[in-house]
Amino acid sequence: MNLVEIHGLSKRYGSIQALDKAELTLETGRIIGLAGPNGSGKTTLIKTLNGLICPDEGSVLIDGHEPDRYTRSILSYLPDRDYFADWMKISDMMDIFDDFYADFDRSKADELCRTLQLDPMQRIKSLSKGTREKMQLMLVMSRRSKLYVLDEPLAGVDPAAREFILHTILTNYNENGSVLISTHLISDVEQVLDEVVFIKEGQIVLHRNADDLRAESGRSIDECFREMFRYSGWKEN
């Protein structure tokens, strides 16, 4: 059985068609990059996986279930913005995750705090934007989940921290799970991906093995991405 099956998924916000009959299946044990320009539907797709958005049409199955309590228990989600009460300490968030999720591994969280140089006693209010992102990543990667869904995990951190975060993802994801990383910074994630998914105007326009795509096109995935999403106004003549 596929870990994720999405069929004919559509979602409209007023006059904007955010998802337009999207089709996508994901297998287990993979790291998949979800790439598309701003407003292409990445976050909407991710939110329907989480059950935060109800689609207008189509179906989403995760491990055979429609988004529900069960799927939330096996899916670890890194949102594109933070949602913390900032008077809390990092350790308070760890307690909350520990209470909420049966698959939260406290010792792993402690270990990640050390490697990411997070002080559990620090108040969230006092953290920089990049450090908040590191904290979110620490919480999300400390769960032993079947599916990790990371929405723009690299957006707010400096290039050195990016490499470190990718390393954290690579060495901490559950070997029997999959990781879906949404990004518009392809060149940063290129080398950790098994598969790439390109989304454009709410439709999945490409889903390939990353190395096969490189072999066939003779280009990096970043170049393929730029080619596919080049603004029409930039074309010569």
């Binding site: 390393h167 690579l170 098994d194 190395d211 490189r214 072999a215 096109s217 990096s220 170049e223």
Partner: protein
Amino acid sequence: MDFHIKDARPIWQQLSAQLKLRIVTGFYAPGSRFPAVRELAAEAGVNPNTMQRALTQLESDGLLITNRTVGRSVTTDVGALSALRSELAGEETAEYLEAMGRLGYGRRECAELILEGEKI
């Protein structure tokens, strides 16, 4: 000897080329145990499946021997290692000649340059 991934070639091919270099230079000695896939993947900062594909290539080239109980080790076959050495030397030479060709140098001129360089 760090892994570096830069060009548009498939990543597993870049990895297997760099692992070959490590084998031929003795960084991994003949007969020694080869590191685990995950370890190598973490070192290179790449996906474990990609590293696995690179190792599979080295196995089918006869450079790595897989043993169910001990894991992977570097071949002790001297013939295979020296064949690899000449293969890599051939690739380096071809690349050099191509670059020199773009500058308008022929093989003979290249050879002269190299021999001159030896005197310095």
